[in-house]
Symmetry: C2
């Protein structure tokens, strides 16, 4: 009985979703979902009899791929191109694959860049840690030339305040 209910009447959670659910599920705004569809990023959205969007579960998986491409820096226009390759059936698979492989390469570059940039920021944090340690230790008895030294440090660390220096 249960099984009849579950599998025949309502195939449960596998049913098409409304736009609101998809929005919550994916983190894309409702407006963005509609816009993606308009510009051709989401070809497989169906409609209920009253005109409302129904997203089959497949669409959800598809959206996640689109999100992955977008988040990793592929412009909307390129994503659309990738999707348009769907019309030509089998023949286009190698082309689509090549496109994805190019994207993978870019993601990897991006990761390297990100690692480097992280290192830069962390290095900068270290210099602050130093400056604070040395600066706050003796906060009240800094001789003038120590202050100058700190400024020089900061300068060397690449963070000059917009203050004239070297004069006076």
């Amino acid at each position: 009985m249960d099984s009849v209910m579950d599998s025949v009447v309502v195939p449960a959670s596998q049913q098409a979703l409304g736009i609101r659910q998809v929005s919550e599920e994916t983190g894309l705004s409702i407006d963005t979902l509609r816009w993606y569809e308009r510009v051709g990023l989401l070809p497989l959205v169906e409609r209920a009899s009253d005109g409302r969007r129904r997203y089959p579960p497949d669409a959800l998986r598809f959206i996640r791929l689109v999100q992955a491409l977008r988040r990793t820096g592929m412009p909307v226009a390129d994503v659309r191109q990738f999707i348009e390759l769907g019309g030509g059936e089998l023949a286009n698979h190698p082309e689509r694959m090549a496109l994805l492989e190019r994207q993978c390469a870019q993601i990897e570059e991006r990761m390297v860049e990100l690692r480097d940039d992280l290192a830069v920021v962390q290095a900068k944090i270290e210099t602050y840690r130093d400056l604070i340690a040395r600066g706050l230790d003796c906060e009240d008895d800094l001789p003038d030339d120590m202050v100058e030294q700190l400024q020089a440090d900061e300068l060397l660390a690449g963070t000059l305040p917009a203050v004239p220096r070297r004069q006076r």
Copy 2:
């Protein structure tokens, strides 16, 4: 003699750079460098007597920090805020450090996201590899239901072409 020339007359490569050199060095366009300065991202640019920009080597290091922040997703407005904290001297160091630490956390999140998205794209590539292997193997003797099977695969893999299916 050589050493006198090098160290006294021209401290060599350590001298201030023109905007063109900085542009080439950093990859930022000349326009962008000027614009960054206008909006307050580059406080330490000096001018030659004829009004042209001279970038001390410190500026170069500073620009690299700015680039790291920008590339890792910090909005220009936030970078400016960070820089404006420079005016207040020592007292602001903890705040600046905190700002950078927040940014670090975000970078790490971004890296995780990137890794996940890469996995999604790679998974998709795998499905294409499969489809191609199976599809191209028997390109000419595909029975109709095999074609259907491939389309279903593609659907499952999340890449439905904008073609009516299931009907007929």
